[in-house]
C-alpha cells in the first residue's frame, strides 16, 4: 500500500497543490540545496520553462510588446509605464529592435538600454528583438555579447526589413532569420531562449503560405524555442495556422500576436508595414467613425476581447502577446475584461526583484532604499554575485557612488515646473519645508492648491502600508520630524494579507516598526535623552552629512526588520537595517536635498539657501522598535521628545 503513494525526495508532484505561487522543483536539480530558500521558482527558471509550467498548470498568461522611445523624456515615461504594466503580471515584455535608432548603443533610447532597464531596474522578464540584415556577423556577435553581459536572456531573432523596396542579399552577413538563430546557437550554445516570428497568413515575401511554413519549421529546427505571430484579424486565421504548423511537426509554443485597434491612423500604418489586409467587416465599422478616437478604441477593445476569448476557448492557446504600441489603456482594458490582469499581485518579496540572472538569489536588502529600488540596483550593479542573497561573506559592501542623478531611470517622472508647484516656488523658512512634507503625507493640497504627489526620496504617492501610519506621520512632520521611510510593526499576519503580505500562501509575515527622518540638531539632542530610557528596545542610528554617527547598535550587525515564515522553508528576512549600508544611503539621502530640490531654485536665492541649510545642519535618523509583539513605541519616543522640548 505504501509503495503506491511513494515518490522520491526529488519528485515534486505534490508541489502543484501549492497554488502555483511557490514551489516547482527545477531549481533543485543542479544542487541539492541553495544557500537561500527558493520562494519563487519563477526567478530561477528560463522563459521557456516558465511557459511550459504555466501551460502544464493551465494558468493562462500574457505578454507585452514595446518599441524604444525617441527622446529621453519619452524613455522616463516608458520606464514608469513598464512599472505600471508590470504590476499586471505579464509573463514577459519584449522590446523591438529599431535599426534607425542605433539599437545596440548605450543611448538611453536604444533598444538595448531599454531592454536592460526593463530587466534590471523593473524586474521584468524581457525579450530583446534583434534583426540581422545590413549587419556583419561581428556586429551581431557584439550585440549578443553585450545583451548577455547586461543580464538579458531572451532574443527574438528576426531578419529585418529591406532598406529599399526590394530585398538584396548580404554577402558577409545574414539573409534570413534562420541564419541568426543558427548563429546564436553556435556562438552562445543554450544560453539564450530564442523566439522567432510566425506569419498566420504567410510572410508577404514568401513564395507561398506552404513555403513560409517550411521556413518557420527551419527556424525551429535551427533552435528556436517558441514562436510569436504577426497580428491577424480573425481567430480562425490563427487556429488554422497553428494546426498547419502542427501538421508539419512544429511542436514548440506558438503565441498569437494580438493587436487591439487603437486608432485609425495607427491601424493604417501597421497595415501598410505588414502588408496585411483589413477584413471588410472591420473597415465597414471603422470608416464612419475614423475621426472619433474613443469610439475606435472601444471598438478595438471589443474586437480584441472577443477574438482572445475564441482563442482561449479553443484550448490551443495558453498565452496572448499584445502589440501595445507603447500605450496602456486599450491593452490593459482588454486584459481586465479577459480576467487576465493581475489586480492583486502576490509579491514574492516585499521589494521588487530584479530579473538579472546574477541577482536571482538576492533576498536581502537594506530598508533605506525601499522607495528607491532602482537606485539600489544601480549602486550595487557591480556586485559580482549574491552568494548569501546579498553582498559577500564578511566583507564590507562596496556601494557604488550615486552621482548620476540624471540617468533616465533614476530621474523624477515630474518636470521642473510640476516640482516647483508641489514643493514651493518660493520657500520662506524651514516651516515651509515642513509644510511640503506634511502635504505629501496627508494628500491635501498645499496653500497654492497643488497636491504633493512625490518627494525627492519617493517618486510615488504614499504606499498603502504607510497609510496605516498617516495620522501620526502628519503630526510629527508638522513639527519638523521630516519622515522619508517608515513601516508599522506586524506580528504574524498571513502572507496573503493584501497590504503587508508577500511570499507564497500559507505563511506568516512579521515586521519591526521602523521610522526614518531628517530633523534638526535641537530635536536630536532631546531625542537622545529620551532614547536612553528605551535602552536596547529601540535601536537608533543618527548621522549628519559630515558622517558624524551616533548609534546604540552593539556592533555592525544588520537588524532584520521584515521576515516571513513559510511551510517547508527556511526563514526569509528580506529587509534589514544595516549600519554599514546606512552610511552609503546617507550620502544619497542628503544629496537628494540638493540634486532634486535646491537646484530647482536660482543659486544664492533664499529658497535654495533654506534647503542648503537643512542639508548642512539636519541629521538623518533611523529608529527600530525591536519589541514587535508590543504596541509600536516609536510614536511615544517622538512624543516624549517634543514634550522634553516644550
Amino acid at each position: 500500500m505504501v509503495n503506491e503513494t511513494q515518490h522520491t525526495c526529488s519528485a515534486s508532484s505534490s508541489s502543484k497543490s501549492d497554488g502555483g505561487s511557490s514551489s516547482g522543483s527545477e531549481s533543485s536539480k543542479d544542487s541539492s540545496r541553495c544557500s537561500t530558500p527558493v520562494l519563487d521558482a519563477d526567478r530561477h527558471e528560463r522563459l521557456r520553462e516558465k511557459m511550459r509550467r504555466r501551460q502544464d498548470s493551465g494558468d493562462k498568461w500574457f505578454s507585452l510588446e514595446f518599441f524604444p522611445p525617441r527622446t529621453a523624456n519619452a524613455a522616463v515615461n516608458l520606464i514608469s509605464r513598464f512599472d505600471r504594466m508590470g504590476a499586471g503580471g505579464p509573463l514577459f515584455i519584449d522590446v523591438t529592435w529599431h535599426p534607425a535608432g542605433d539599437p545596440g548603443s548605450d543611448k538611453e533610447t536604444s533598444s538595448m538600454i531599454i531592454a536592460n532597464t526593463a530587466v534590471n531596474y523593473c524586474g521584468l522578464e524581457t525579450i530583446l528583438h534583434m534583426t540581422c540584415c545590413h549587419q556583419t556577423k561581428d556586429d551581431i556577435t557584439g550585440h549578443l555579447q553585450k545583451a548577455k553581459r547586461l543580464g538579458l536572456k531572451n532574443i527574438m531573432a528576426l531578419r529585418g526589413d529591406p532598406v529599399g523596396e526590394e530585398w538584396e542579399e548580404e554577402v558577409d552577413g545574414f539573409n534570413y532569420a534562420v541564419d541568426l538563430v543558427k548563429h546564436i546557437r553556435n556562438e552562445f550554445d543554450d544560453y539564450f531562449d530564442i523566439c522567432v516570428a510566425g506569419y498566420p497568413k504567410g510572410h508577404p515575401e514568401a513564395d507561398s503560405y506552404e513555403a513560409d511554413l517550411r521556413h518557420l519549421k527551419e527556424k525551429v529546427v535551427a533552435g528556436a524555442d517558441f514562436i510569436i505571430t504577426q497580428l491577424f484579424f480573425r481567430s480562425e486565421t490563427f487556429l488554422k495556422f497553428m494546426k498547419d504548423c502542427q501538421a508539419i511537426g512544429i511542436t514548440c509554443p506558438i503565441i498569437p500576436g494580438i493587436f487591439p485597434i487603437q486608432g485609425y491612423h495607427s491601424l493604417r500604418q501597421l497595415v501598410k508595414l505588414s502588408k496585411l489586409e483589413v477584413p471588410q467587416e472591420i473597415k465597414d465599422v471603422i470608416e464612419p467613425i475614423k475621426d472619433n478616437d474613443a469610439a475606435i478604441r472601444n471598438y478595438g477593445v471589443e474586437l480584441a476581447v472577443s477574438m482572445c476569448r475564441e482563442l482561449l476557448d479553443s484550448g490551443m492557446v495558453h498565452g496572448l502577446h499584445f502589440y501595445t504600441l507603447n500605450r496602456e489603456v486599450a491593452t490593459t482594458e482588454v486584459l481586465k475584461r479577459l480576467g487576465m490582469w493581475n489586480e492583486d499581485p502576490r509579491r514574492p518579496l516585499p521589494w521588487a526583484v530584479s530579473a538579472h540572472p546574477k541577482r536571482r538569489v538576492e533576498d536581502v536588502r537594506p530598508i533605506f532604499w525601499a522607495s528607491r529600488p532602482k537606485s539600489y540596483i544601480y549602486r550595487t550593479q557591480e556586485w559580482d554575485d549574491f552568494p548569501n542573497g546579498r553582498w559577500g561573506n564578511s566583507s564590507s559592501p562596496a556601494f557604488g557612488e550615486l552621482k548620476d542623478y540624471y540617468l533616465f531611470y533614476l530621474k523624477s517622472k515630474s518636470p521642473r515646473e510640476e516640482l516647483l508647484k508641489m514643493w514651493g516656488e518660493e520657500l520662506t523658512g524651514e516651516e515651509s519645508v515642513f509644510e511640503v512634507f506634511t502635504c505629501y503625507i496627508t494628500g491635501e493640497p498645499n496653500k497654492n492648491g497643488h497636491k504633493v504627489t512625490c518627494m525627492p526620496w519617493n517618486d510615488d504617492p504614499l504606499a498603502t502600508e504607510t497609510n496605516l501610519l498617516k495620522e501620526q506621520l502628519e503630526k510629527v512632520n508638522r513639527r519638523g520630524i521630516l519622515t522619508i521611510n517608515s513601516q508599522p510593526n506586524i506580528n504574524g499576519k498571513p502572507s496573503t494579507d493584501p497590504i503587508v503580505g508577500w511570499g507564497p500562501s500559507g505563511g506568516y509575515v512579521f515586521q519591526k516598526a521602523y521610522l526614518e527622518f531628517f530633523t534638526s540638531s535641537e530635536i536630536v539632542t532631546a531625542l537622545l535623552k529620551v532614547l536612553k530610557k528605551y535602552e536596547l528596545r529601540v535601536n537608533y542610528h543618527i548621522v549628519n552629512v559630515k558622517g558624524q554617527n551616533i548609534t546604540n547598535a552593539p556592533d555592525l550587525q544588520p537588524n532584520a526588520v521584515t521576515w516571513g515564515i513559510f511551510p517547508g522553508r527556511e526563514i526569509i528576512q528580506p529587509t534589514v537595517v544595516d549600519p554599514v549600508s546606512f552610511l552609503s544611503w546617507k550620502d544619497e539621502a542628503f544629496a537628494l536635498w540638493i540634486e532634486q530640490w535646491a537646484k530647482l531654485y536660482e543659486e544664492e536665492s533664499p529658497s535654495r539657501m533654506i534647503i542648503q541649510y537643512i542639508h548642512d545642519n539636519y541629521y538623518l535618523v533611523n529608529l527600530v522598535d525591536n519589541d514587535f509583539p508590543l504596541e509600536n513605541c516609536l510614536w511615544q519616543v517622538v512624543d516624549d521628545t517634543f514634550e522634553l522640548l516644550n
Copy 2:
C-alpha cells in the same frame, strides 16, 4: 550637545547594558560583517579575552580542574560529569597531563583525548596541561600540533615532576616551564593562550620565595597570559602572594587554586605531593573526625566557602579555580553557597554549542540529532568550515557514517545489566517494546519495577520541554507510535523563558510543532491517507531502513522549526528539518535498534528477533506542523490515523 554623547559605529560602550549575555564588539574588529549573526561573543573570544571581559564587567567566574581517568568506563563517567558540571557555567575546565598514562596518545583515557572530548563534544573551553621534562622538543611540538589540530586553544605550561627524588637536567629537552612557554610562542606564535603555575608559598624546590617570584615573572615575560596558583589554606597567603607579584610587575590575571578538603586520605596525599604544610588549626579539626568522610567534607566545604568569600571580598580576585579531584559534590556545593553556580543557564542556542574554533560560526543543525549532539559533532567533524553556520553553500552535506558506537563519548552511561532491567530481560512481542517507550515517557516504573531513564535514541530522561507534551506522547506510544523526538509549537515566547528560551534577553523565540517516531507500515498507510487532508500544513518525511522515502516536501529545502528574533540582530534559525540530512540520520536511528538494543540479547533469541523485526519493517516518520500560531494539529493527525484504523 550632540557631540558629547557621540560615539562611532565600532565603539560599543552601550553594549554593556545588555546584561552580558550578548554583544561585545571584539568579533567585529576583523570584519565589518559576519555571514551569521553573532549571538554570543563568548564563542568568538579567546580565553584571555573572556577573562578580561568578565573582570571589566565585575562578573565573577570559576573554573574546574580534572585529571584523566584510568579506565574506559571511568572516561564515560567523566564525560557525563563534564556535561553536568558544565551546566553550572565554568569559564573553562582544565585537564592535567598524566605522564604515566601516555598523555598525548589516542587512547580514550589520555589527557589529549579527554581534553579533545571536553572541547568538541561537551562544548567546554578547555586548557590542556603539558609538562616538558623527560621529553624531546620534537615530542612536545608533536603534542602541541595535535592539540591545535583537535581544536584545543589553551595550554598550561608546566615543568613536571622529577622521576627520582632529585632533579636531573635534560640535555636535549626542556628543564623549566619557562622553556616550554618560549617554545610554544616560538613555534605557534600567538595561537595558544598560555597559563603557568604560581606558588603562593614559593615552589618547594626554589632557593627562596623571592627567587620563585622571579621565575614566575620570567614565565610571564616569556609569553604566559595568566597564572593559576597551587592550592593554599589561608586567604592571606594568596593575597600576600598577589601583592608581591604586582610589586615586581606581574600584571596578568592570577587565579587562586581552591582545594575543598574532601577526605582525610586525599588531603594527605596532596600534601605529600605538593610539600605543603597543613595549618595546625585545620589539623586540629580533621584528626578527630578522620574516619567520618561526610563530616570532613562538610568541614572542607565550610572552609572553602569562607576562604573564597574572603578572596572575593578583597576585590583582587575575579575568578576561582577548583581542584575537583574529579568529584562533583564538594565543589558544586561550594559554588552554590557562593552563588556562583549558574542554576538557570541561558542557552546561547537551543542546542549545546561546540567549542572547536572552526565551529564557532555554526548556528544551524538538523533537529534529528537533538538528543544525540555528540554523534552529530562526530559525524560532521570532517567538515572544513561552517561558512553559513553549517554545511557549505550548495553542496550536499557529506555526513560521516556512524559505525563507531563503541566510542566512549557516544556510549550509553548505563551498563548492560541496567539497560536490560529498563528495556526488558525478555521481550514477548512488539507490545513489550511499546511498553518500554511508554514507561520512558511517563517516568513510571515498568512491570518489573524499574524506571526507564534512557532509550537508545536518548541517553537522558525526558527533556523539560518534552514534558509539555507528556500526556499525548504517552497515549500514542501505547498504541505503537514510538516517539523519539518532539517539540511543541511556540508562537513568540520571551527568549528568557525558562523552558523554551534561548539566546540573549529581549528577544522572542518561535517553534513549529515537530514529532518523530517509528511505526508499523500498517499505521503508515493510514497516516498517509489522513495526511492528504492537511496538504501543505503538515510536511512529512517517511522512510524505512531500506531508504524507501515518502514525502510531500516540494523540494530538498530545509524547513526551519526553531527561530529567534533579537534586538539589533538578523533572524537566527538554529534548528531545521532537513530532508537530505534526514536520510543520514535514518541510518543512525535504525542502527541504534540493533547496536544498543538487539545486541543486549543472545543471537537468535526471541527478544532479539523482535527488535530485528521492528528494525526491518517499521518506518521512521517525521511530521512538522507549519501553522505555528494555531494549535498543534499533529495530535489530531495521529488521532485521525487511529480512528481510521479502528
